[in-house]
């Protein structure tokens, strides 16, 4: 991997490297720590980190969206989930260790994708940036149906969730 193949290492590359490592570490940590609330904290950091990567990729709108939706709403949702289902917030309900088979599967997946992609030719593209207004035009224009679909899906999700949690069952 010619990450450091260029004679001069640019700032973006270093930034990317740091962010990547942080992302991986927080993700793994989120899954392996003992306390449930700790994982929530770790995952929040993970989301922020991903958002930073988006900024690095010249997609500011997406970065902000990630912060708002993920680091904001999703994290709070997960926190709600933890609160509503546990009697004691800091009880030990986290995971167990590392099972062999899934680890192997995950590793294999990783290796697969990476090696197959490694056969792609190197390209020296530069990152292009876009004006956010173009983004909104695209979103409400050609991608309008997607938006509609998303709306419908959300509506369905709301209805379904309400049904799932209603009282009087069983």
């Amino acid at each position: 991997m010619p990450v450091l193949g260029d004679p001069k290492v640019s700032l973006e590359e270093v930034a990317f490297l740091v962010l990547a490592v942080v992302a991986l570490l927080t993700a793994v940590a989120a899954l392996l720590v003992r306390e449930l609330v700790h994982t929530i904290l770790w995952i929040a950091v993970f989301f922020v980190d991903i958002s930073a990567i988006y900024f690095l990729l010249e997609a500011p709108f997406l970065g902000v969206l990630q912060l708002g939706v993920y680091a904001g709403a999703v994290t709070v949702l997960l926190l709600f989930g933890v609160m509503l289902t546990r009697k004691r917030i800091f009880s030990r309900e986290a995971a167990t260790g590392l099972d062999a088979v899934p680890l192997a599967l995950a590793l294999v997946t990783f290796i697969f994708v990476v090696t197959s992609v490694g056969q792609l030719p190197q390209s020296n593209q530069t990152v292009t940036s876009y004006d956010p207004s173009l983004l909104s035009e695209n979103l409400f224009g050609p991608f309008g149906p997607w938006l509609l679909l998303l709306g419908l899906l959300m509506m369905g999700a709301v209805a379904g969730s309400i049904y799932l949690v209603r009282e009087g069952r069983e």
Binding site: V101, P102, L105, V108, T109, F112, S116
Partner: protein, 661 residues
């Protein structure tokens, strides 16, 4: 003038077939059950009229072969074993021997049917009886008229089936049911040999005379027998085929060693015994031998075997008749014995002489059976030692039985004399060239004495003396007119049938069977000597019987007499049945046990093995479904990886294909 009638020969079996259908289907619905019998009699009478007309026509103008054929299977010419096609037919063949048999079958059939009206008077099963007898007459006349070997075999089997039905007519009696089974199974042994014989002929003649099999195994092609001139002399294959045919005939005609079923067949009604087991069905075996010898040919080895079987059986059966107390069984043994004479004649090369004896024998044997039936009908028992003095109350029956006995014993001018002596003369004439025949000839001669003795022993036991030995016997009286008329008619035939030989028409009939060596038309001195000796033996037998049993005497062997073991041996039929039972029990049962073992352990074992294997496999596989979603997700991922792997491997080839193609 009567030539046109030959085309209608199929009416003979057809009438009785109609009777079978009508009585079989509608018999139980008739207002009175006896009407079924009258229907059957009517059809049998019609059959008889046609049959006799045809027979008479043949006698007037013998030597006419007529065929009416219907093709029921035809394979078009094709490359292979039958390049010119393959055809199977049914048809009728009217020639001297078949018309002779036809007269016998239809006349005796009609008379027995008439007699049955008076003899059988039970409430249940009567329509079944008449239907089965009609079917039997159909089968028998079909057999006689068959124009090819396969059709012959077809009717042969049908005759066997009818015999099974009729022997087992009183099926509620276990002895009757088992006798029917025994008859069928023993004749089956013969039938299989017959079938093998047909196969061997087919295989043998497919190279020598391929047209024969391809055209349906015909006996004749219209003018001359099909295979005359194609005989292979002393070929081993033909000899084996001949032995097979002999086996079939021995089964049907109850010759040694397949004779065991006939005495037990007396479990059926007496009329059945008269028709089937005296006059017609058992004669089919002799007819088969005659037809084979005239149309297919026997090698000299075969002939020796046939003469041996016939002569030996003639003597062997007579010995067993000497001691038996059951009137029907005595007559049954005498049937076996007389059939032996016929077989011997055919074996010696005189098929027509054998058939002549068959002709006369049919009449006087049926007469004997019907007379015995009259006695049984009157006194309700078949045990000779309970009867006695019946000549006073049953004059007609006594006379009829006496006529039959004299015919059987071969006393002139009764019918049996002419035919039996012809056989003896015929065999004697062959003794010069076939010295191996001597012991059998002597056995046949000895049997003459025994025959006269045992039949008159029966007569004296039943009819002589003053009163029955068993005082509880019901008072005897003659049967109704339907029983008496056949007795009278058959007595006339038993006297007159032999004298037919002096009719030139009949002589030429006997002489003209294809390839036949005929009866000696002129009696030389040797023949007269033979006749004299046989008559003397006959009279001697009668005299001995009178000495021992006449006037109500009972000759009982002393308990310590050295002849006692002999008597037991004879009464037990030389323990033949015991022997066969033992073979069946040990041999067949062992095979059955082995087959059962194989079936249970090997075959069932395999099936159960599959069962267990599948159960095991499914048990193991069941654990995949753990209910834990993570596991399922793991399976999905694993599958996905496998898919990717395959794609990775296959991809270069696809690319190359797309790129190149």
């Amino acid at each position: 003038m009567l030539d046109g009638l030959y085309g209608w020969a199929f009416l003979v079996p057809l009438f009785t077939a109609l009777s079978f259908i009508i009585v079989g289907l509608a018999g139980t619905r008739m207002r009175r059950l006896e009407w079924g019998g009258w229907v059957a009699v009517a059809f049998a009478g019609a059959s008889m009229v046609v049959g006799v007309l045809i027979g008479v026509g043949e006698m007037v103008n013998p030597g006419t072969y007529t065929d009416v054929r219907y093709t029921w299977l035809h394979l078009a010419p094709a490359p292979g074993p039958f390049p010119n096609g393959f055809t199977l037919v049914v048809g009728t063949l009217v020639d001297p021997i078949s018309s002779l048999m036809l007269i016998v079958v239809t006349v005796v059939g009609f008379l027995v049917m008439l007699y049955s009206i008076g003899y059988m008077h039970q409430d249940r099963g009567l329509p079944r009886y008449y239907a089965e007898i009609s079917l039997f007459l159909t089968a028998m006349s079909g057999l006689v008229l068959a124009d090819n070997l396969l059709e012959f075999f077809l009717f042969w089997e049908l005759v066997g089936v009818c015999s099974y039905f009729l022997i087992g007519f009183y099926y509620e009696r276990p002895s009757a049911a088992s006798a029917a089974k025994e008859a069928f199974i023993v004749t089956r042994v013969g039938d299989i040999m017959f079938l093998l014989g047909i196969f061997i002929y087919f295989w043998y003649y497919s190279s020598v005379a391929p047209g024969w099999a391809a055209n349906g195994f015909l006996f004749t092609n219209g003018t001359a027998p099909y295979l005359v001139g194609v005989l292979g002399g002393n070929s081993t294959t033909l000899t084996v085929a001949g032995i097979m045919i002999l086996g079939g005939a021995a089964g049907k005609s109850a010759q040694f060693p397949l004779h065991v079923w006939l005495p037990d067949a007396m479990e059926g009604p007496t009329t059945v015994s008269a028709l089937i087991h005296a006059a017609t069905m058992v004669a089919a075996g002799v007819y088969l031998l005659a037809v084979t010898s005239l149309f297919l040919g026997f090698t000299s080895t075969d002939q020796l075997a046939i003469v041996g079987v016939g002569g030996f059986t003639a003597f062997f059966a007579a010995t067993m008749a000497v001691v038996h107390p059951d009137i029907k069984r005595v007559i049954a043994y005498s049937t076996i014995s007389q059939l032996g004479y016929m077989v011997m004649a055919v074996g010696a090369g005189f098929a027509m002489v054998g058939l002549f004896h068959l002709f006369t024998h049919a009449f006087f044997k049926a007469l004997l059976f019907l007379a015995a039936g009259s006695v049984i009908h009157a006194v309700g028992t078949q045990d000779l030692f309970k009867m006695g003095g019946l000549r006073k109350s049953m004059r007609l029956t006594a006379a009829a039985f006496a006529v039959g006995g004299l015919a059987l014993a071969g006393i002139p001018p009764f019918a049996g004399f002419w035919s039996k002596d012809d056989i003896l003369s015929a065999v004697y004439s062959q003794l010069g060239s076939h010295p191996a025949y001597w012991p059998f000839f002597l056995l046949a001669f000895a049997a003459v004495f025994l025959t006269a003795y045992y039949i008159f022993r029966a007569w004296f036991l039943a009819f002589s003396g003053d009163h029955p030995r068993d005082l509880n016997l019901p008072h005897a009286h003659e049967g109704p007119w339907t029983m008496q008329v056949p007795l009278v008619l058959l007595s006339a035939l038993a006297i007159g049938a032999g004298l037919l030989i002096f009719l030139p028409g009949f002589q030429s009939l006997l002489l003209s069977g294809a390839g036949a060596t005929g009866i000696p038309p002129v009696y030389g001195t040797t023949d007269l000597v033979i006749s004299a000796v046989s008559v003397t033996l006959g009279l001697g037998g009668i005299a001995l019987a009178w000495l021992l049993w006449g006037n109500g005497r009972v000759y009982a062997l002393r308990a310590t007499s050295p002849a006692q073991p002999v008597r037991r041996l004879l009464l037990n039929r030389y323990y033949f049945k015991v022997g066969y039972d033992w073979i069946g029990a040990k041999g067949v049962y062992t095979i059955a046990r082995a087959a059962d073992f194989f079936d249970r352990f090997v075959i069932d074992g395999t099936v159960h093995g599959f069962e267990r294997a599948f159960a095991l496999l499914s048990n193991r596989l069941r654990r995949i479904q753990s209910g834990v979603v993570s596991d399922y997700a793991a399976y999905v991922v694993a599958g996905l990886i496998a898919l990717f792997a395959i794609l990775l491997i296959v991809a270069p080839y696809v690319v190359a294909r797309l790129g190149g193609g």
